[in-house]
Amino acid sequence: MTSPLTARRATRIHPGQGARARGLIPYLLIAPAALVLGVVFAYPVASLVKESVSSPGLMGGTEHGLQNFAAVLPDPLFHSAVLNNLRLFLAVPVLTVVAVLLATLLFERVRGWRFYRSIIFLPYVLAVPVVGIVFSYILQRNGLLNEVLRNLHLSALTRDWLGDSGLAIWSVWAVIVWQQLGFGVVLFLARLSSIDLSLYEAAELDGAGWWQQFLHITVPYLAPVIEFFVTLSLINMLSWVFNYVFVMTGGGPVRSTYVLELLIYQKAFRDGLPNLAAALSMLVLAFAVVLLSVQSVLRHRIERMEG
């Protein structure tokens, strides 16, 4: 017969075991989230990889290999789409600099700052298709913008903003900047609202001017948000511009506004080539992963700078 004391001894957990059990708790806690991520992210990515290296062969069989990549990589339309995505990347520094400057001005409570803040943020809440349709009318050869220019006796500046193959992508670019600017401004304003104002007072006492305060207090303080905004915007320019292009130009004229997303959509849904679309999607994904890796490195550096 076993005494109660012996029984308690028998079931007592060894101190080392307890530590191990405690060590498992975090994993158990994140398990549901990991499961959800696995279902909504890992599985689709795994399927995408599988689709990208397989294609229907003859007699209903399936071929495996890199033939889909070999088919899309030499396509001039693919080159054109990549080039246009890179052109849209140029919107990111413009967006960032203008948004930081505007946020700083609004933070200084210039007269009517609340009104300006609303006006700047308003485009961001509009649906992209609505913005696209409205601008496709405004930017017509005989549209509102050119009419205004003509009335101001600036006819020399009128252009076929969406019909000129050399201009169309830049017109789309400008609309994206116009709409996305509000998000950056609000993001930077939110960060600035937590800044210690005594830093500016101290800088003023030391004789620092507006520009020096901006450069040495505001910008370093905004650095983590700038890094986040830049990365997010780059990924947006890579994989979130379909709506603008689809509505405003459809990829034309002369294929001058094709972006990778539009190409993927056409291969998948118009040409009935889901495997080629998967190969293109893999390339976009790889690009996004590179961007995220760069962001990660930058974040570590900023964290080290912040001590």
Binding site: Q140, R141, N142, D160, L162, G252
Partner: protein, 467 residues
């Protein structure tokens, strides 16, 4: 008792001799085979349909956008069909599709093998692409040949492939040019005799431009005009419809006067400033509106829309003309006949019922109802031309039997248009545009198509036209 009549040992239920068993089996087989035999003897679609899956027969259709009134017609026709109990196995439900999702929604459904039993598709290769993907069932197994023969042969040719009929021509979408007779008069042109030859066409456009109007009002921002322009001008050096297929089969190069000669006349129209100045800013329908608001003298348009223009602006203002001839081939003067089709999906468990519904849509009373509601004409010999009630329709019906019929767009693969024809023509509208660049783009598009779509290249090799 002989062996054959001996009860089976160990069986305690009602006994049956071998002779009785064989007799009963024969009777059962006879009952099971009866519908098939009846059908083979011409028992009709409803008997066939009895072997199909029951439940709702789903039809995804389109057409309201180009033949206004189609939705009312379709819903009314389906209601009558259901109320009359024409399909004993279940009702028909028709769902109007959006232009942008007509193909994407169907292909998604086809991939899941769950969706419509009857699918509307644009004609020619735009329907055959889905045939090549395995999404469509051949109609020859579902409709009697004698019945199919009553459908217009030119229209059937557009979706006849590999010896089988895949699409049932539903309504004609003949395309032509609408012109403003009053603007012609003001430019001292004969409003009742529009130009038929290229030189006369150029002279007329010059006179119209001189009179202060935009001669040609079109829109090319949404890319669709590319298919129209190549179809208006691109086949004029062909001697037969088969010439359209040859470059895609790999028989000939897409080059030389026969295939790319048409780009020079188009460039001439652009260089002479006959088009509106905002061609690349406007969508196809916005370009047509320039004609409707009487800012342009001529526009490209489909027959039902020209009828609409005529109703709005009057028969004394709107006339219809075919593309003027610049080419030297037997198809230099041609009838731009095209038709949209209804198909039976390969994954439908109700194929016979679907075919029965398609036959219903070609009954004379139903065809007349469709024409009255939407102006859409069934390409069917049972369609009585006496029903036509507009000048445009009568004029087109008169021209149709006198000319060879082709709508070029229906015979080339769509990626060729999207990646070659459209950008090639759009760059012609740019200040630095050149015919050579357009040709390069079209040849490049064919090369890309051949690389990416080997199955379609094989399909073209199997494509023999309906004779």
């Amino acid at each position: 008792m002989t062996d054959s009549e001996r009860p089976m040992s160990g069986y305690s239920g009602p006994t049956m001799s071998r002779r009785q068993f064989l007799g009963a089996s024969a009777a059962l087989l006879g009952v099971a085979a009866a519908p098939g035999l009846l059908a083979a003897c011409g028992g009709g679609g409803s008997t066939n349909a009895a072997s199909d899956a029951g439940g709702e027969l789903l039809v995804w259709y389109w057409g309201e956008q180009e033949a206004p009134g189609m939705k009312d017609f379709f819903e009314g026709a389906v209601d009558k069909y259901n109320q009359a109990g024409r399909d004993k196995a279940g009702d028909v439900r028709a769902v109007l599709q959006e232009s942008d999702t007509l193909y994407t929604a169907f292909r998604t459904a086809a991939k899941a093998k769950k969706g419509p039993d009857v699918q509307y598709l644009w004609g020619g290769t735009q329907a055959l692409e889905d045939v090549w993907m395995g999404n469509i069932a051949p109609l020859n197994d579902l409709l009697p040949q004698t019945w199919l023969d009553k459908v217009d042969k030119d229209a059937r040719r557009e979706t006849f492939w590999n010896g089988e009929q895949w699409g049932l021509p539903f309504y004609e979408l003949n395309t032509a040019w609408a012109y403003n007779k009053k603007m012609f008069e003001r430019a001292n042109l004969d409003p009742e005799n529009p130009p038929q030859q290229w030189d006369d066409f150029i002279a007329a456009l010059t006179a119209l431009k001189k009179s202060g109007v935009v001669p040609l009002g079109v829109g090319f921002k949404d890319a669709w005009l590319g298919g129209w322009l190549i179809s208006y001008f691109g086949a004029q050096n062909f001697d037969s419809v088969d010439d359209a297929l040859a470059p895609f089969r790999g028989d000939v190069e897409f080059s030389g006067e026969k295939y790319v000669g048409w780009l020079e006349p188009v460039k001439e129209l652009i260089d002479r400033g006959f088009f509106n100045d905002d061609v690349l800013s406007l969508d196809l329908y916005q370009g047509e509106q320039l004609f409707e608001i009487q800012k342009a003298a001529i526009t490209n348009s489909a027959q039902p829309q020209i009828v609409g223009f005529q109703r709005k602006l009057g028969t004394d203002t709107v006339g219809v003309m075919l593309s003027p001839a610049w080419g030297q081939g037997k198809l230099a003067r041609f009838f731009p006949g095209a038709s949209q089709v209804l198909t039976v999906t390969s994954f439908s468990p109700r194929k016979d019922r679907a075919a029965q519904f398609l036959q219903y849509l070609h009954e004379p009373a139903v065809m007349k109802a469709m024409y009255d509601a939407s102006g859409a004409i069934s390409p069917d010999t049972r369609f009585d031309l006496a029903w036509l009630n507009t000048d445009v329709d009568k004029q087109m019906a008169k021209l149709k039997p006198t000319l060879p019929s082709i709508w070029y767009q229906y015979y080339y693969p769509f990626p060729f248009e999207r990646d070659g024809v459209t950008p090639g023509l759009q760059q012609l509208f740019q200040p630095q545009g050149s015919v050579k660049t357009a040709v390069d783009m079209m040849q490049q598009a064919i090369a890309t198509w051949q690389r990416e779509q080997p199955a379609q290249v094989d399909a073209y090799k199997k494509w023999t036209l309906l004779g």
